[in-house]
């Protein structure tokens, strides 16, 4: 107790109050001080660090098939000073975007690059800047198209790829390629795929047994070219030039052939979004469709047996490429070429192989080694797996015993390479052994076989009279009975 000057006794107020006594203002002052000190510390730390190098930003305009987000992440991880800003657009619309505003992208993917080539909107890429692009390493079509296609077609092929006659500069770096025809469900169509053998004819598309269960791609160029290939193969029509570049009269003649098929109501759906055709086939609403190879894989993942057909008339060969826009940012030219070339590297090949798309330059030791002999030979040479299909079913579908005793025809339609060859993605040691007589063989077989049966290429071309194609296609669709 203290005593005042007047002699009264009182209790002295403590300098620091107990917890009830600390005022709100004091709390705020202490907290504010702590925050300010922390902020000052952080600021001081960053100010004393060396300034990070500013990142260069590459603007990518394409489809995720060509450059998936996983690929971008890996590219950015390995090139810390580069950032990729990706804009993804549907395959059949991306070309229009690229042509409409060539200054909005530095690098783009394409499966229809002819208009960009004609408009001279592509920046050339010296061949030496794409070191994986070499004779003997790339698919042979790219360097010797004239060996496989008639003169006029080979000329169109080369025009889309090479910037000069001497072949020192590329118009783009080809990334993925493949052979394509039609997907079908073997539960309804009595066929199966056996590697290097043809299974069905293109004309199954208008077999009335599947009426109302057939789908086509919603693009005139694609369809007229496929029908022209059929008519040419069976010598029902002769064409003056490449079957993928018909004259207006030829387009009309092909359309006349197609008209009764459309008028009969045979074709029930036209797809342009990948997910839609997968949904329609995996739900078994559509049994046969002109569609891309991964559709069959996605059906299989849903437990629906599916194949990609090796048709008598031969599939089409296609490739897509990564191109640089002339009106893009010149400061990121080297980085953009690097990204284009990155599409040929192992990281991206791992992503493409999941869709069964082939690298345009697959004959490299790192790819061979990572795939292992069994997968590499299955993928490129059409060799059988080392295990028989019934054993594979147990491995791929451990929770689906109903698949273990299915006929082999359906079991092969449920084969999932992504699971059976998982070592390629996990880094585990590959399987060793010998091809089994009852092993799985990939649909469409070996590259050598495909070279033998392929008569034409589709992507990245567009025909000279595309307006006639579009108009006739519209007319055909208008003839479908309502």
């Amino acid at each position: 107790m203290e005593e005042s000057e007047e002699g009264e006794k009182y209790e002295k107020e403590p300098l620091i109050k107990d917890k009830k006594g600390l005022t709100r203002r004091q709390y705020l002052a202490i907290a504010g001080g702590a925050i300010a000190a922390a902020a000052a510390g952080v600021a001081a730390y960053y100010l004393t660090q060396p300034a990070p190098k500013p990142k260069k930003t590459i603007r990518y305009l394409g489809h995720p098939f060509w450059l998936p987000e996983d690929g971008i992440a890996e590219f950015e991880r390995t090139r810390p000073n580069v950032k990729v800003e990706a804009t993804y657009v549907d395959f059949y619309l991306v070309g229009e975007r690229q042509l409409a505003d060539p200054s909005s992208w530095d690098i783009g993917g394409s499966g229809r690059s002819r208009p960009l080539v004609t408009h001279k909107l592509l920046k050339e890429i010296p061949r030496e800047m794409a070191p994986r692009w070499q004779e003997g390493r790339a698919i042979d079509y790219f360097l010797h198209a004239d060996k496989y296609f008639p003169y006029e077609m080979a000329k169109r092929f080369d025009e889309l790829l090479w910037a000069d006659k001497e072949r020192t500069k590329l118009l783009g770096v080809p990334n993925m390629c493949g052979w394509e025809s039609q997907n079908y469900l073997p539960e309804y169509l009595p066929y199966e795929e056996k590697g290097d053998q043809v299974s069905m004819s293109f004309e199954e598309l208008w077999n009335p047994d599947w009426k109302g269960h057939v789908a086509l791609i919603d693009e005139g160029f694609d369809n007229f070219s496929r029908f022209a290939n059929y008519l040419d193969y069976h010598q029902q029509m002769t064409f003056s030039g490449p079957i993928s570049n018909l004259t207006p009269e030829e387009v009309k003649a092909v359309a006349e052939f197609m008209r009764p098929i459309f008028e009969s109501g045979q074709i029930k759906s036209f797809w342009s979004k990948y997910g839609d055709i997968v949904a329609m086939m995996s739900s078994k609403e559509i049994w046969l469709s002109v569609s891309w190879v991964p559709v069959s894989l996605d059906c299989r993942k849903a437990g629906v047996p599916a194949y990609h057909a090796t048709i008598v008339e031969g599939p089409c060969f296609w490739y897509n490429l990564s191109m640089l826009s002339k009106q893009g940012n010149p400061d990121v030219y080297n980085e953009a070429v690097d990204l284009a070339h990155f599409h040929l590297e192992l990281t991206i090949q791992k992503l493409y192989a999941k869709q069964l798309y082939t690298s345009c330059a697959p004959y490299w030791d790192d790819l061979k080694e990572a795939m292992g002999k069994e997968f590499f030979d299955w993928f490129h040479d059409g060799k059988a797996t080392y295990k028989p299909i019934d054993e594979i079913m147990k491995e791929i579908w451990p929770d689906k015993p109903e698949f273990w005793n299915l006929p082999e025809r359906l079991q092969n339609g449920l084969f999932l390479p992504e699971i059976y060859f998982k070592h390629f993605w996990t880094g585990e040691p590959p399987r060793t052994g010998e091809p089994h007589p009852r092993g799985n063989k990939r649909d469409l077989g070996s590259i050598a076989f495909k070279h033998q049966i392929t008569r034409w290429f589709l992507s990245p071309d567009l025909p000279d009279y595309n307006d006639v194609y579009v108009s006739k296609w519209e007319e055909l669709k208008a003839s479908i009975p309502v």
């Binding site: 229009e96 408009h119 693009e219 029930k268 739900s283 000279d464 009279y465 296609w473 208008a478």
Partner: protein, 288 residues
Amino acid sequence: MNLQEILAKYSKYLLLVPGLIISLFVVIIPLAILIPISFYKYRFPYLIPEFTLDNYIKYLLSERTGTILLNTFGLSTLTCLVCFAVGYPFAYTLAFKIKSPKVRTYITSLLMVPFLIDWSIRTVAWISILGERGLVNYFLITTGLSSTPQKLLFSPIALIIIWLQTYTLFMIFPIYLAMQRIYPDYIWSAQLLRAPPHRVHYEIIFKLSKPGIVTGFIFVFVSTLGDFVTPSLWAGGIQTLGLSIASYAGNYLWPQAAAMSSIMLIITLAALIILIKVGGIKKLVYER
């Protein structure tokens, strides 16, 4: 007039400025670009800025144009009517029969659920409902109404069902809002004067909800005209004008696509003017 007076007189229009700016950049300028392009010449893949009427003449004289326009406007009109048949009773129940605001909120929220779901997932959902192994066929077969699965998908019927699900909301809401604005006194007065129920409904509720009905028709009509993805996939392959425009534009044939868009725009505007005139929307709005 000094500045203060000018400001006082015109300041009320300031609120319109943001909307007008957006309309200018998103509607007016693109249209101003689109229309001249429709008169350009074309040689694939080049756009030649020389005047021609060919894009219009060729399209209008083509044999297919009649079928395509009939498909397009016929299906949109039919969908409007079906949406009205479903939406009007729904809006009426919501406005007059359900008293609890909470229940109304729940119902309107439920109506919006499909819009929260991605297009691809909705696609899968339609297969499981209308597909050969779908719910509808399951019901038809188990009840003995049909012995074999019916082909419901890939037909104009499927298209109308899908559009009905997608766009009924655009019909329900304007009608519901119009109905909510009707003074209950009008209805009570009519009832007091012993007007028969059908006359009360027609003379008061229906006539006073006309602005909502016309607005609903406009919303559904315009939305279905512009939708080309649904017909492409589900309508069994029939061609519509929206699909043609998408196809031409996607193939770099911009003058033709622009000409078709202009034709679509003119026909749509004409249809809207007729709808507004027939619906007497202006009179009804100003009378209130």
